[in-house]
Subunit: 329 residues, 2 copies
């Protein structure tokens, strides 16, 4: 079972928003931002009143999700993009999301070290996120974290997903623009890529473009793109980069900028935004109801008893759920 | 956002269990099993009464989860294990779970082809699962599918997870015994493996043991195992295999058998079973409540309106959730 947050056993007090913290965040104070993000990650009830206060101050930040196969150079690209936006005097945030793939250890350690060199720049805020509790998914947490950073006046937030699962794709899609990284030598694999990944890329980046096989992967990508059609009529850009020495970064940021301009003249951005909010609302409701139920006196104990009765086959799981719902809701 | 199941717009009728289908499943009919699994995967309300009927007939099947890094040879090992159990005249099921990693295409195609050769054996039932809807997770679906196969008289079910994320680990852990595959050449990566993966392995299989570096990976694994202690005092077995030519399969199944015997004399199996049922119960409740809410007249429409209002920043997400909960629950 996934690591679960400890179950609440006492009724928490919904606190008032901390006016000092709100003010500090709106002024762009990194420490206040970090503090609220920690509350969000811990599903602290203290976070909710703050998020509500900050919400009207959001909507200006542009977010870019970066996803791709392991080893495609996501971290290096993110690092280069951050430098680029910093040179434009933009306030840059980086969220590195790791939905805890237990098999990717080595690369993550390397990424963290690289990220630390960037964190010496006082104009860049970096945050790693990995926690995933049983009261909500990482995509929802990411949406809330973006809300905090948006209110704190970040111009650009880069969301780098470390793993390769559906979670990562979901997270990348909470961004305004999604970059999908490919590398030469993926060979036939690109053909076998699920349709989903082709649909989410607004800009495709062929990184390590100095490696052999770059023409082949670009051709295959173009064939696939020609076959697929997007409801918004955007034709995804394809750019080549060698992120490790900065080649192609300009073309990449230009492509992102072009897509950003396109978004402003298209209903797509709003549709996507509505979709993100719909999913988030369902997620809030789901976790809220469960939290409410578990707060009821005796509910946690009864849950435990019923789990034991099911394990012993004295009650079936559906009858147990009916009982819990009937008794505590 | 993740692919979501279409939202229900009409009130479904909870049907009576189909007595013919129940009888066929209890008699072990593969086609009836497959039909009910499809209903389970689609979150059909028709599945629930059947599962309730079958539940008292479960509890005899032994399930083995197999997880490991990509390229570690999970499919080949599963194939060999299935052959082994078939030779012992056991009724064998294989569930290949793919929580939709969009980047792993090629390998999966190969796996499917390999699996098809096995599916020619009438004593082996094979099922691929990939769907993940918004009304429940894949771990829950897997638990329900196992319930069906258990009632149908399968002696052993092998659960192979195709990807490498937390989902896969969760799924592997719904099994009675969990095999973790490693391969030589993982080098320092094994050190960086998250603690979680070390804790879930009941048997560690070093596959491709004819490759160089096998001693190193085994030594590192043993060091890690010596440092970690399990609450149940089980000392995980470490076996070497070359699954591609059948070497070490006997040692592997012996280690599984030893663990199975250990489970019978330890409170661990029941504790794990209670934990699985607790998580599953929470999951049933979460999805049940959401489903109930979305069934209410006007709820889906109001959800849509509120998502638009949030996107336009006319209402904050928490106020919107409060409204939906207040109005429809």
């Amino acid at each position: 079972m996934r690591q679960t947050a400890p179950m609440p056993r006492t009724l928490p007090q919904v606190s008032e928003p901390d006016p000092g913290m709100i003010q500090d965040i709106l002024a762009g104070d990194f420490r206040a931002v970090a503090r609220l993000i920690t509350l969000v990650e811990n599903y602290s009830l203290k976070a909710v009143p703050c998020l509500r206060e900050l919400f009207p101050h959001t909507g200006r930040c542009f977010t870019v999700g970066i996803t791709g196969a392991p080893g495609s150079g996501k971290s290096t690209l993110v690092d280069r993009l951050a430098s680029h936006y910093r040179r434009e005097e933009k306030k840059v945030g980086i969220i590195a999301v790791d939905p805890t793939s237990p098999f990717s250890g080595g690369a993550i350690l390397g990424d963290r070290i690289r990220m630390q060199s960037r964190s010496l720049d006082p104009g860049t805020f970096i945050r790693s996120m990995a926690t995933r509790g049983n009261l909500g998914g990482l995509a929802r947490t990411t949406t809330d974290v973006l809300m905090v950073m948006d209110a704190a006046g970040f111009d650009v937030v880069l969301i780098e997903t470390v793993g390769v699962g559906q979670d990562e794709v979901d997270i990348a899609r909470t961004a305004n623009a999604t970059l999908v990284l490919l590398v030469p030598g993926m060979g036939d694999d690109i053909q076998a890529m699920k349709a989903g990944i082709m649909e989410i890329g607004d800009v495709f980046v062929i990184n390590k473009a100095d490696h052999p096989g770059v023409d082949r992967v670009e051709n295959e990508l173009n064939v696939l793109l020609a076959m697929s059609s997007r409801p918004d009529s955007w034709r995804p850009a394809v750019v080549r980069t060698v992120a490790s020495d900065g080649q192609g970064i300009e073309e990449c940021t230009n492509a992102v900028e072009k897509y950003r301009t396109f978004l402003q003249t298209s209903p797509v951005q709003r549709n996507r935004s509505v979709q993100i909010q719909r999913e988030r609302l369902l997620e809030v409701i789901r976790s809220q109801i469960l939290q409410d139920l578990l707060m009821k006196a005796g509910a946690v104990e009864r849950l435990e008893e019923l789990a034991q009765e099911i394990a012993d086959r004295r009650i079936d799981p559906f009858a147990a759920a009916d009982e819990l719902l009937g008794q505590f809701l």
